[in-house]
């Protein structure tokens, strides 16, 4: 049979355990809205029994551990879902700008194409008319300017993607360093037998953010350190060593370069997921694709009009010159139309140099009829010029609506996984309140028990 004094200790341990549990509950309640916080669970165990007189007596309770409620599988899912969401979220802004550039309103490029050929049609009814000739030149200028504007605005979008990536890179490198540091700290505190719950929460949150930014995947090494690697397997963080991402100009193009130890790797859009992947995808695939088609459209209009115009004779009796001018692409391996939209311009200033016919007579409208008829001619892949523009604009629209759908699906998926995470790791105030009551009553009971033991001691001492 145990002594009354040891009974006092048993009571005290109950008070301590419950007090500690109340503290943990309080911490949970305080962190109910902390991002990335994992609910902590107190595990109370019964203290080692003491043998006396052949009987085993319990010696109260003790705090066994304070654990965070987490699930590695869900944490991984959360990182993957963040990467998925990050990719479409980041792409949505530049894509919608691209869509606005290739607009379908009444002032779209298609309207300028219509107006240009309409001016030729008008010229055909009065082939010698100065104002009709002037109009053809003005509408040609408008069309050329619109092409140039589209081309410039598209490359502006690509440039702004570059600068937004550049502004994100320092924060990204900082997060990689933090992970490496946290890996070290967590290892140390675990070796020392302490609990690294808060640090682990921080690390999980960072992993999620890095995933959202770059699509990096994570694995845990033998020491419990979180390691990160890009889609192509290149290391971002190994143990306590972080790589550095930087942006460099390579052949006039802004590219991402990863420095891991002494090696450097040049990366392209396939190596990234997440926001970086989404942005690079738009910059390297979507924009060049649309730019190329706009270039081709400009090139085909220029060739078709020039081919006819040079067969004509202008009002001064000389052979028609090129109506539009283009600067040929400096890159010999590129398509002939490369850069056409950026360099298209009307090369005629003098209305008299517009060739409306093939005879040089002021009443000859035969050529203007042919040029006006180009608007109904299937010139590019079985489409007319405006049909081709509509196809390009619709394509840009499909990029946007496809991205929107994926973004919405990604967001819902992310929300679902976050709900799953909350189920395990989230704090419920109601639940914590119940625990609080439970621990409070445990504390009260232990205190009551102590006062009973004290009375017993008093009784004993009063004898």
């Amino acid at each position: 049979m145990g002594s009354l004094i040891s009974s006092l200790y048993t009571g005290a341990s109950g008070i301590y355990s419950n007090q500690a549990a109340v503290e943990v509950t309080g911490n949970n309640i305080s962190n109910v809205n902390t991002e990335g916080y994992s609910r902590q669970v107190v595990s109370i165990k019964s203290s080692t029994s003491v043998e006396q007189g052949g009987l085993l007596f319990g010696s109260g309770s003790a705090i066994d551990s304070i654990n965070r409620a987490d699930n590695v599988f869900i944490t991984k899912q959360l990182i993957a879902a963040s990467a998925n969401y990050g990719e479409y979220e980041a792409a949505s802004t530049p894509l919608s700008t691209v869509e606005q550039i290739l607009d379908i309103g009444e002032t779209s490029l298609a309207s300028d194409i219509d107006s240009f050929f309409d001016a030729w049609e008008a010229l055909s009814t009065n082939p010698g008319g100065n104002s009709e000739r002037q109009q053809v030149i003005i509408e040609g200028d408008d069309l050329a300017n619109h092409f140039q504007q589209i081309s410039k605005e598209l490359s502006d979008v690509a440039d702004s993607i570059d600068s937004s990536i550049e502004s994100l890179v320092p924060e990204f490198n900082d997060m990689l360093l933090q992970i490496a540091e946290l890996n070290g700290k967590i290892l140390q505190s675990e070796i020392a037998g302490g609990n690294a719950n808060t640090l682990q929460d921080q690390r999980d949150l960072l992993l999620q953010k890095i995933g959202e930014f770059s699509g990096a995947t994570t694995y845990t090494d033998d020491d419990g350190m979180a390691c990160l690697q890009l889609k192509n397997g290149l290391p971002l963080v190994i143990g306590q060593v972080a790589s550095t991402l930087s942006t460099q100009q390579i052949d006039g193009v802004s590219q991402q370069v990863l420095t891991a130890g002494n090696s450097t790797f040049t990366l392209d859009n396939d190596d990234f997921g997440g926001a970086l992947g989404g942005l690079l995808q738009v910059r390297d695939n979507t924009i060049p694709e649309l730019q190329d088609e706009i270039d081709q459209l400009a090139y085909e209009i220029v060739s078709a009009v020039n081919n006819l115009h040079t067969t004509g004779i202008d009002l001064e009796g000389t052979a028609g010159s090129d109506f539009f001018s283009l600067t040929p692409s400096a890159d010999a391996s590129a398509a002939v139309w490369h850069g056409a939209a950026a360099s298209i311009a009307v090369s005629i200033n003098d209305p008299a140099l517009v060739a409306a016919g093939t005879s040089g007579f002021s009443g000859d409208n035969s050529l203007s009829l042919q040029i006006a008829a180009l608007k109904d001619t299937a010139t590019i892949g079985g489409s007319t010029f405006t049909e081709e523009y509509a196809r390009i604009a619709a394509k840009a629209g499909l990029f946007v609506s496809g991205n929107e759908d994926k973004l919405l699906a990604g967001l819902e998926n992310l929300n679902n996984i976050q709900d799953d995470r909350d189920t395990i790791s989230g704090v419920s105030t109601d639940e914590e309140m119940l625990l609080l009551i439970q621990y409070q009553s445990g504390y009260e009971a232990a205190a009551n028990y102590l006062s009973v033991v004290k009375e017993m001691l008093d009784t004993l001492l009063a004898m």
Binding site: V32, N33, S96, E99, Q100, D103, I104, G105, A110, S111, D114, D118, E121, A122, S124, T125, P127, G128, G357, S359, F361, S362, G363, D364, N365, S366, L369, A372, A373, K375, D376, T386, E387, Y389, A390, R391, A393, A394, K395, A396, G397, L398, F399, V400, S401, E404, L411, N415, D419, D420, D422, T423, G426, V427, S428, T429, E431, M433, L434, I437
Partner: protein
């Protein structure tokens, strides 16, 4: 069992609230602009139709204008052709009178004078200018088409074709060649009549009468061609106007918002936003603290 934590329920509410208000905002914008497809992503499949309709409307308006301009050209030609026909018919009347054996030489002289004046008038008509352009000169509308003695045609035989509907054209002019020279030369016919009348050779005058009729017939047939063309242009104008109306309607169906549908959508989403708001209020109201 899935346990719903505080942050889950707030997140779900926040997500739904923002989703519904975003949608509602979109609907408000559509209703106030009246446009359903403002950007390609609103409905990529209708982009081709919208741009196609706008193109066709611009083209249709141009065709109507072309028809009107062709009609203007033709109707001014018609006025002058009427005068030419008057000249030719008067020449024939003179020819018929001059074929009478009982006329004196002075009568023949009077007729000869009148015929020469008519020949001058015919030349003037053939060189008619409208707003600075010779209308019977083919393509070469800045140089005088008829000159010399005998009168020759120096213009071109080209018709200024005007597109009046896709792939179809109408000649916007009548050339001096087809009106005055070919197959019958109106000036030579008058010349021959003048020679016969001034010589007082009634037999020769009579022999010219058939040729005069052939010449007048040549002018008449051009005149009726003009009438037909003008009628055809009227039909085309009506056709293009109707088709533009239809196109505008199609464009509106593709592009414009259906207000009735939008308004009912709006009330649907307003209701669901309201419901979400109410529920959000309740979530914080329902709390264990109240019962402790």
């Amino acid at each position: 069992m899935t346990i719903v934590r505080d942050s889950s329920s707030y997140r779900v509410l926040q997500y739904n609230l923002s989703k519904n208000t975003t949608k509602l905002n979109e609907l408000y914008i559509k209703t106030s602009t009246g446009i359903e497809v403002a950007k390609a992503s609103d409905n990529p499949s209708s982009v081709q139709k919208i741009i196609g309709c706008r193109s066709s409307i611009v083209a249709g308006e141009r065709y109507i204008e072309n028809c009107r301009s062709a009609q203007d050209n033709l109707s001014s030609s018609e006025t002058y052709i009427d005068s030419i026909l008057d000249v030719m018919e008067r020449a024939k009347e003179i020819g018929i009178s001059a074929a009478n054996d009982s006329l004196s030489q002075s009568d023949f002289n009077t007729y000869t004078d009148e015929l020469s004046r008519m020949q001058d008038a015919l030349l003037d008509l053939a060189n008619t200018q409208v707003s600075g352009k010779y209308i019977f000169a083919g393509y070469d509308d800045t140089s005088q088409p008829f000159s010399g003695s005998p009168v020759t045609y120096n213009g071109t035989t080209d018709h200024q074709m005007i597109t009046v509907s896709p792939g179809s054209t109408v000649a916007g002019n009548i050339t001096g060649e087809e009106l005055f020279m070919n197959p019958t030369d109106l000036f030579a016919t008058l010349d021959n009549l003048i020679t016969a009348v001034s010589a007082g050779d009634t037999a020769l005058v009579s022999s010219q009468l058939d040729q005069l009729e052939v010449a007048a017939e040549q002018v008449r047939s051009r005149q009726s061609e003009l009438g037909n063309a003008s009628a055809r242009l009227d039909d085309l104008i009506t056709m293009h106007s109707n088709s533009n109306l239809l196109l505008t309607e199609t464009l509106s169906t593709e592009e414009d918002a259906d207000l009735t549908e939008l308004l009912s959508e709006i009330s649907k989403y307003e209701l669901s936003v309201e419901a979400t708001m109410q529920v959000t209020g309740r979530v914080s109201a329902l709390n264990l603290f109240d019962y402790l």
